[in-house]
């Protein structure tokens, strides 16, 4: 990989048909920086010294992302006027090589199948449509019509055929150039996400919380020693990449004016959170890379059981209570960080002390100070079975329901299950209840039902409902 990506393709004798321009080279990157957004897009900046004689020159940049969005390329170098920029996709293949040889000479090396003797001839390629037609001296022949071994040797590879997609710029310089150029563009093939690992210690009511940035490079290109930062926020609010790019350019130029330094322009990307990776890092192609950004040892956390019912009905099967891990993303609770959106994987230790995976939940971009209640899973041993015990009709559109919720706890520890009942609007009244509940919103009540170890508790209440 390093040879392709980081070797400079100084195409020798490259000339443009129209302009008397020489291909000049950019040296390897002095710096490369990646700004990776959540949604399959990254902003890449290469800083490279360039040198070329005065006049019209073509400069090629090897090692740019193979998934570059060519229309977003921006090339800036002092004392250099940009004339045009090209992104050549014309891949070098045997077929292309032959096509480009139409009208020019190639060498044929034939091998005698009986003796193995080689004979060499020069031929002119006349056509490559549906087969290769050659003129050899005064004869016209089709290549390998006789199926005999024939090697075709080309003196040179046309300079616009590339081993990989290549970016080049055509510049006009009034004097010899010896500058540092800055090349920026957007590229597809990059994603990142936050991944969290929480090891929940239920007896101690704490959890550890580690945060990892996982970034994935499928751009086809590796970037060595890159300054890398990740931007949290949804950048795909704008319809097209081009428009997003325009907006970004405007925002950047605003920043540059106010701050006066180029480097700091990045830190002010609107309201997005930026996570710089502290050291230079190599982002290899087809690699999943993870960098730690959060390591909190003992965050206060507790476990809770919850279950929500939306109607009044009897169930023949008990329903498992949801298990949630509750914690505060606060300084007081042991954390208090901006958490980029991602998946939290929760582990608990088994009887031998080995962490076992117990469930995962998604968190959105979370600011410090937020209260969290991550769903771990369903409790095997804590269940709720509803029964509509009795109904009484009051009017055509009003009835009284006696509900009973049998909460069973087969665990060896007491539990409290928060039971939420929807379908209780403002005009509905709770007439009787075995445990005192509370209204939690315009349509629901909640009861905290304590259940001793290996026991059960029945919550009963009577409500009026109308429809």
């Amino acid at each position: 990989m390093r040879n392709i990506c980081w070797h400079l393709f100084t195409s020798i004798g490259a000339t443009l048909a129209t302009a008397n321009a020489l291909a000049a080279g950019a040296a390897p990157d002095r710096e490369v920086s990646l700004t990776i957004y959540n949604k399959n897009i990254a902003l890449i900046e290469h800083v490279r010294p360039i040198s070329s004689p005065a006049g019209r020159q073509r400069i090629e940049f090897a090692g740019v992302s193979a998934q570059i969005v060519p229309e977003t390329v921006s090339f800036v170098a002092p004392n250099v006027v940009l004339i045009e920029q090209n992104f050549d996709y014309d891949l070098l293949t045997p077929a292309k090589l032959m096509e480009k040889a139409v009208g020019s000479q190639v060498r044929l090396v034939r091998v005698n199948p009986a003796t193995g003797a080689e004979t060499s001839e020069t031929a002119e390629v006349l056509s490559t449509v549906g087969g290769v037609v050659l003129r050899i001296g005064t004869r016209i022949e089709v290549l390998r019509e006789d199926n005999l071994p024939t090697r075709v040797i080309f003196d040179k590879v046309p300079e616009n055929l590339r081993a990989q997609p290549t970016l080049s710029v055509l510049i006009n310089a009034s004097k010899p150039v010896n500058e540092v150029a800055r090349l920026t563009y957007l590229s597809r093939g990059f994603t990142w996400a936050a991944d969290y690992v929480a090891v929940f210690d239920e007896p101690k009511s704490t959890t550890s919380m580690q945060g990892w940035i996982t970034l994935h490079n499928t751009s086809g290109t590796s970037f060595a020693n890159a300054r890398t930062q990740l931007v949290a926020g949804d950048v795909n609010l704008v319809a097209s990449e081009e428009q997003w790019w325009t907006n970004w350019q405007q925002r950047r130029s605003t920043n540059q004016r106010s701050s006066g330094t180029e480097g700091s322009g990045r830190e002010q990307l609107g309201d997005y959170y930026i996570y710089p990776i502290k050291q230079l890092t190599t982002v290899a192609n087809n690699q999943t890379k993870q960098v730690s950004f959060l390591d909190a040892g003992a965050v206060k956390a507790s476990k809770g059981y919850e279950l929500t019912f939306y109607g009044f009905q009897s169930n023949t099967e008990p329903q498992s209570a949801e298990v949630r891990m509750r914690f505060a993303n606060s300084k007081a609770g042991g954390m208090g960080e901006q958490l980029p959106s991602g998946v939290v994987r929760i582990y608990m230790r088994d009887a031998r002390g080995q962490p076992q995976f117990v469930g995962e939940d998604h968190i959105g971009h979370t600011s410090a100070g937020s209260e969290m209640a991550l769903k771990i899973g369903d409790a095997f041993d804590v269940t709720v079975q509803p029964t509509l015990v009795q109904t009484r009709r009051i009017t055509k559109r009003k009835a009284e329901y006696d509900m009973s919720y049998l909460v069973r706890n087969a665990r060896s520890t007491p539990s409290v299950v928060t039971l939420r009942q929807y379908g209780l609007w403002r005009e509905n009244e709770v007439l009787k209840e075995s445990i005192s509940g509370r209204r939690i919103d315009s349509g629901a009540f909640a009861w905290d039902v304590p259940v001793p170890a290996n026991d059960e508790t029945t919550l009963t209440f009577t409500v009026t409902t109308s429809w």
Binding site: R2, N3, P28, A66, L91, T93, P94, A95, K96, L97, M98, V109, V111, A114, G116, V132, L143, L148, T150, R151, I153, D155, K156, V157, L161, A163, Q164, A224, N225, Q279, L280, N286, Q287, T288, K289, Q290, Q313, S314, V343, M348, D350, P355, Q356, F357, V358, G359, E360, I376, G377, D378, A379, F380, V382, T383, Q385, L388, T391, T395, K396, A410
Partner: protein, 545 residues
């Protein structure tokens, strides 16, 4: 490794340390097609910064789930490279490098070797620069082959997880690496043998483990977790191949989705033959260009998974070995964890079974029919209601007193009648997770030799109005038992939220409330008939003001 030492490289390259294999491994299998693999490895770390690579990890590893502990020094970053070594990748990574081309001349068999540089290699073919000039590989009609000087450093025969560590104390350490990997599944199945009187059953619970991956684990500690984990779809950054677990309203939907995903995964991990091929394409047969395609996309299609093992076959044995060693159970958070008490080999594409439960349990066998007389309209020809077949049920209490009192992970329950030493399949039912103390009722089959006829009569509307009722149904239910033994029949009349104020003012038999419904228990004599009559009423009420 993949760290490129450019002329401007700022940092000292870390020393690479390779950990070829795990010393010990623990595999915890979940129902949702993945497992948690926990490996212990011994590594000898030098003092300076280290790139530590773990070889021999499971190929389906979910890199973002990896956790490395007990390192004793700061972990700076971790990388997962799965650029598997394949002919295509070998070529791609050798672009620009010097190779040897060997040609065998026809006729004489003379072998000619020369050096060449790979100028380009892509789906359109391979272009070389030889001493004579530029030419295409495999286009001349001569037998040609390339010989590579070395393996590109970043191609691996097996997937590799590596971590970069800061400098620290030198020495041997025992570290722990854990990660989630797809391609594992487990299920629980039950076999119940009923005694001739159908008053008890010998219940055996089996755990069946399945490893669909090509990874083999020797002497592994194996656990399974019973319970429903909250999971996020893999496309949303989670672990689940079956989708977000909040999307499933009931267990049967989830079971179906798991089965579907399992089949997909199995196909995915299936051996795919030897379709590997080098890049093709010659100048004589021009191919249409695909300009926007990146190299790797075109290569990806050729990436193959090679599996060497054979797929094990799933057998449902009915015999419990005498003194069979049972799987141990413990609580894990709010789940049940079952541990194979011995170390075991879990081989590639293998199915393994173990007994986790063996109990003699008191049961009740009865028949059940649930209906709502309100839905029966009296139009004179209710043929449907003349031959109703109730369900054949088995119920038991999951308590110590009944001989059980163990958490029962959900699964298929297959029941067998024993009579005169013969075994007869009595039916099967899918059971959901059952905690202790929760009664279990299983619908095994449709009854044989037991049928019902139901007749519902209603008064005319005037009579109903005079009685201030919105509904009155006089139900006559006849049960016919053609069996040579008396049976118990449970009838349930629905009484839910849609029937506010429903009552049973008259009944031939005592009833109770069950699941909010009105329920009767009837004894139907052998080769006899039993009649139940009751009246269902719903009050009429005033309009709202």
């Amino acid at each position: 490794m993949t760290v490129l030492a450019g002329a401007h490289a700022a940092q000292a390259d870390p020393v690479e340390v390779i950990s070829p294999q795990a010393d010990g491994v623990s595999v915890t299998i979940y129902r949702d097609l993945f497992a948690l693999i926990t490996e212990t490895r011994t590594v000898d770390l030098p003092e300076g910064p280290v790139t530590l690579s773990f070889d021999g990890v499971v190929e389906t590893l979910l890199p973002e789930s990896a956790v490395v502990t007990d390192l004793g020094r700061a972990l700076e970053e971790r990388n997962f490279d799965y650029d598997a070594l394949s002919p295509n990748k070998l070529l791609l990574k050798s672009i620009g490098k010097s190779v040897t081309i060997t040609r065998t001349m026809p006729g004489t068999g003379r072998v000619v070797q020369s050096r060449a540089t790979i100028v380009a290699a892509n789906s359109g073919g391979i272009t070389l620069r030889t001493e004579q000039g530029n030419e295409a590989l495999h286009c001349s009609g001569l037998p040609e082959r390339l010989t590579f000087d070395e393996l590109p450093a970043d191609l691996h025969a097996r997937p590799r997880l590596s971590i970069r560590l800061a400098a620290g104390k030198a020495g041997k350490r025992s570290i722990r690496l854990s990660y989630l990997a797809h391609g594992f599944a487990w299920k629980s199945d039950y076999v119940a043998r009923l005694n001739p009187a159908s008053t008890r059953m010998d219940l055996t619970g089996w755990i069946t483990l399945q490893n669909y991956t090509q990874a083999s684990f020797r002497g592994a500690q194996v656990q399974v977790v019973a319970g429903k984990l909250h999971l996020i779809d893999i496309d949303d950054g989670g672990t689940s191949l079956t989708g977000n677990s909040d999307n499933f309203s009931d267990e049967s939907e989830l079971t179906e989705a798991r089965e579907e995903a399992r089949q997909l995964l199995q196909t995915d991990l299936e051996p795919k033959g030897s379709a590997l091929q080098l890049f093709g394409g010659c100048h004589a047969l021009p191919e249409p260009a695909a300009p926007n395609q990146s190299h790797d996309e075109s290569v990806e299609r050729f990436d193959m998974v090679i599996v060497t093992g054979l797929r094990g076959s799933m057998r449902m044995s009915m015999d419990v070995k005498q003194n069979a060693m049972l799987v141990e159970r413990e609580e894990l958070g709010d789940y049940q964890l079952y541990r194979l008490p011995w170390a075991t080999d879990l081989n590639a594409r293998q199915t393994k079974q173990a007994v986790f439960l063996s109990k003699r349990v008191k049961i009740e066998r009865y028949y059940s029919y649930v209906f709502n007389a309100q839905n029966v309209r009296n139009d004179g020809d209710d043929e449907d209601l003349e031959t109703i077949t109730p369900a054949s049920m088995v119920s038991f209490e999951n308590r110590k007193a009944s001989g059980l009192g163990e958490p029962l992970p959900g699964g298929m329950m297959r029941m067998f009648d024993t009579a005169d030493g013969d075994e007869l399949f009595a039916g099967e039912a899918r059971m959901s997770d059952k905690p202790v103390n929760v009664p279990v009722e299983l619908d095994l089959a449709k009854a044989l030799d037991l049928s019902l006829a139901i007749d519902v009569r209603r008064p005319d509307p005037e009579e109903l109005r005079d009685a201030e009722l919105s509904e009155r149904a006089d139900v006559e239910l006849r049960a016919f038992n053609a069996k040579g033994v008396p049976v118990t029949l449970e009838i349930r009349q629905y009484a839910g939220a849609y029937m506010p104020g429903a009552t049973i003012p008259k009944s031939s038999d005592r009833f109770r409330r069950k699941y909010g419904d009105f329920a009767w228990r009837l004894r139907v004599p052998a080769n006899g008939t039993r009649v139940l009559t009751y009246r269902l009423e719903m009050p009429d009420v005033a309009d709202d003001q």
